[in-house]
């Protein structure tokens, strides 16, 4: 996995709560058996005026001029500013894959849905929870100043505005450690392979019915 230490980038404010993963990447694009190439279809139904199809050349499609990522000033954004319950619904990891493929590295919101939040960390994408009133302030600043950038430091657990104001955020130590070092967490788990084997052997003894195959 790609490591995440620090990032500075342009902020795109998406002023809408309960953004679900169907909205982030609609189902017709989940038919791919790859992890890459989802970027052109990120927010497909909001971004384009027509119905998107897999393997289509998106550069020829009619854009929705009102959608945030179609505005020139946000086209190279890498920090997504969002509202409550971002990433709710389906567990599809294609959602973080699409955000990553578009170029996002950080998502800031007052709250995230659990499965999406977890999936981000597996893909070098950092979801940051900040208090609603701070998020409100960042929305105002990002909308007012073209080219508005935030700086995120995962080691220090801070988000810093261009004006030098710094906000701390919380993140689990394990997730932070894996992300800072770009660790493959399967490898980390397999360091405990002996423990897992012992646990499994005990379980097979105490609850053998869990290991049955069909009668």
């Amino acid at each position: 996995m790609r490591a995440f230490t620090q990032h500075q980038g342009i902020v795109a404010p998406m002023d809408r709560s309960n953004v679900d993963t169907d909205m982030i990447i609609p189902k017709q694009f989940l038919k791919s058996i790859k992890r890459t190439g989802f970027g052109p279809n990120l927010f497909d139904e909001l971004r384009y005026l027509d119905e998107g199809k897999p393997d289509q050349d998106c550069s020829q499609r009619p854009l929705n001029p009102d959608f945030i990522l179609n505005q020139e000033r946000y086209k190279s954004a890498s920090v997504l500013l969002a509202r409550d319950n971002f990433g709710c619904g389906s567990s599809r990891e294609h959602a973080p894959w699409a955000l990553d493929d578009f170029g996002f590295r950080v998502i800031i919101a007052p709250s995230f849905a659990d499965i999406f939040y977890n999936n981000c960390f597996k893909n070098g994408l950092l979801p940051i929870v900040l208090e609603e009133k701070i998020v409100d302030q960042l929305f105002q600043e990002a909308e007012q100043a073209e080219g508005y950038q935030l700086t995120v430091d995962l080691a220090a657990k801070t988000v810093t505005t261009p004006g030098g104001q710094s906000f701390g955020f919380d993140v689990d130590d394990f997730r932070r450690h894996c992300l800072l070092n770009g660790l493959d967490d399967i490898g980390v788990t397999l360091e405990d392979a002996e423990l897992i084997k012992d646990f499994e052997a005990n379980r097979r003894e105490s609850a053998p019915w869990l290991f049955n195959v069909a009668n």
């Binding site: 017709q28 989940l30 689990d172 499994e200 053998p208 290991f211 069909a214």
Partner: protein, 472 residues
């Protein structure tokens, strides 16, 4: 010391290692696999030169992409080449690694969350995962079951474990009894309406109270299925006689001495009387009416006798904007009665409501009636080949077809429209599925979530109607 909740017990029973940083290694008893969220996980295994840790823990089936017609053609019946590749990839991966798969022409094929319980592959006390958020369904059996992403599918394949942080405990208690004609679907929609789509975020949600205890396993599955729509990855119901009776005799279920030992353990799978929950929500069963969603989030729901809300009455500006946007997308006017919503299609199916009881409830409503002429289509999609066979044995297929509904082959179908079954732009659908998100059932489609009985009532009238007026 306070007693343990059901979730505490399940957690403790699967804890391999508590790490200093607050994370924990949890053993996974069962993984269910389907074609959409597994290909990249198998590819990851291959690239890293890893093998599945315990093959027999896994059970696979294609469900999202499969067509619901011409099943005898098997994979050749999948017209969309991209869908076909995905199903073929699952077959190839399961064959290569040696994982049990119910392939497209197997009568045991169906929606993963229907076939797990049907086969007894879902047993009380298990930890169960699947790359699908509706894995919470299995919690109805007193299991710890939740959806995971593809990276975690690979992690479980490779290690039989997950790295987790313990969630908080929440109890949703439904007191008293439900009124006639009120189903598990209405209960869970009412719960989501009360606590909101993020009300359960960060919690493992246990459903309890007299009304839940009275419900069948299939109704409990419907409720746990939609805990994720209230934000809770995990939904659970304690084990009782109803659970144990349901499991008995299924292909993967234990028998003989093993059965007795298993049952003795399963009887402990309930929250202790003095267990402490971080959050408790209570509803009165008698207050719950048949529910209908009017918006683009499952929390946008009301009783069938209600009105589409007026955004002017919402004080919170973000919520108000959400209502305005939802009404625009749904093509509805503020303050219009729910029963005035005219429908174009009806969908009875999905991992929420495609089991035999769901089909019986729907058939009871349409029996001797006809689908309204204004409807373009009414689909019935059973959850598995075995559900289909059972329904046909009971003659339900004939009741549906005589009424003008289409009787299809099993799969996820129009719940998420990855196959050919989808809504056209602007069409309204009464759907027994779980998500009314924008575009979920087709580009520009408008979904209203309801119970199977309510969907059946809508099918024969062409608009929403309180099913109790038709049946009582």
């Amino acid at each position: 010391m306070a007693g343990k909740t059901l979730y505490d017990k399940l957690w403790d029973d699967h804890l391999i290692k508590q790490r200093d940083d607050g994370s924990a290694l949890i053993y996974i008893d069962r993984q269910l696999l389907h074609e959409v969220t597994s290909p990249q996980a198998f590819e990851g295994l291959r690239l890293a030169g890893r093998k599945p840790w315990r093959l027999s823990a896994n059970l696979a089936t294609p469900d999202h992409n499969v067509p619901t017609t011409d099943r005898e053609k098997g994979i050749d019946g999948i017209v969309d080449p991209v869908s076909r590749t995905q199903v073929e990839t699952l077959d190839r991966n399961c064959d290569e690694f040696g994982i049990l798969e119910f392939k497209i022409k197997d009568q045991r094929q169906g929606i993963v969350h229907v076939i797990g319980p049907e086969q007894g592959a879902t047993l009380p006390g298990m930890t169960i995962v699947c790359g699908d958020s509706h894995t919470s369904t299995h919690g109805a059996f007193g299991t710890l079951a939740h959806g995971i992403g593809t990276s975690e599918v690979e992690h479980v394949l490779a290690t039989q474990c997950l790295v987790q942080k313990k969630m908080k405990n929440m109890l949703v208690k439904v007191n008293g009894r439900l009124g006639a004609g009120v189903t598990g679907k209405d209960v869970v929609l009412a719960i989501i309406g009360k606590i909101g789509t993020a009300g359960g975020t960060g919690y493992a949600m246990e459903f309890g109270g007299e009304a839940i205890r009275q419900l069948s396993m299939e109704a409990r599955m419907t409720i746990c299925n939609m805990s994720i729509e209230a934000g809770a990855r995990v939904g659970m119901v304690a084990v009782d006689d109803i659970t144990i009776d349901y499991v008995k005799g299924r292909p993967f279920a234990p028998n003989g001495e093993q059965w007795d030992a298993a049952v003795a353990h399963w009887r402990t799978l309930h929250s202790d009387d003095d267990a402490v929950f971080d959050k408790v929500v209570e509803l009165e069963g008698a207050d719950i009416k048949p529910q209908v969603t009017w918006g683009t989030s499952p929390e946008m729901v009301t009783g069938v006798d209600g009105l589409v809300p007026d955004p002017a009455n919402e004080a919170d500006p973000i919520k108000r904007e959400g209502i305005v946007r939802a009404l625009k997308y749904m093509g509805l006017e503020a303050n219009m009665p729910i029963t005035d919503i005219q429908l174009d299609r009806v969908f009875i199916g999905s991992c929420t409501n495609s089991r035999i009881e769901d089909l019986r409830e729907a058939a009871a409503v349409v029996k001797g009636r006809k689908v309204a002429p204004t409807l373009k289509q009414a689909l019935v999609v059973p959850g598995s080949g075995l559900v289909k066979a059972q329904a046909e044995k009971e003659g339900l297929d004939k009741i549906f077809m005589e009424a003008g509904l289409e009787w299809r082959d099993p799969g996820c179908s129009m719940c998420l429209a990855m196959n050919a079954d989808k809504l056209g732009q602007g069409e309204h659908c009464a759907s027994t599925s779980n998500r009314n998100f924008e575009g979920r059932q087709g580009f520009g489609g408008r979904t209203h979530l309801v119970s199977p009985a309510m969907a059946a009532a809508a099918a024969v009238t062409g608009h929403f109607v309180d099913v109790r007026e038709l049946t009582h």
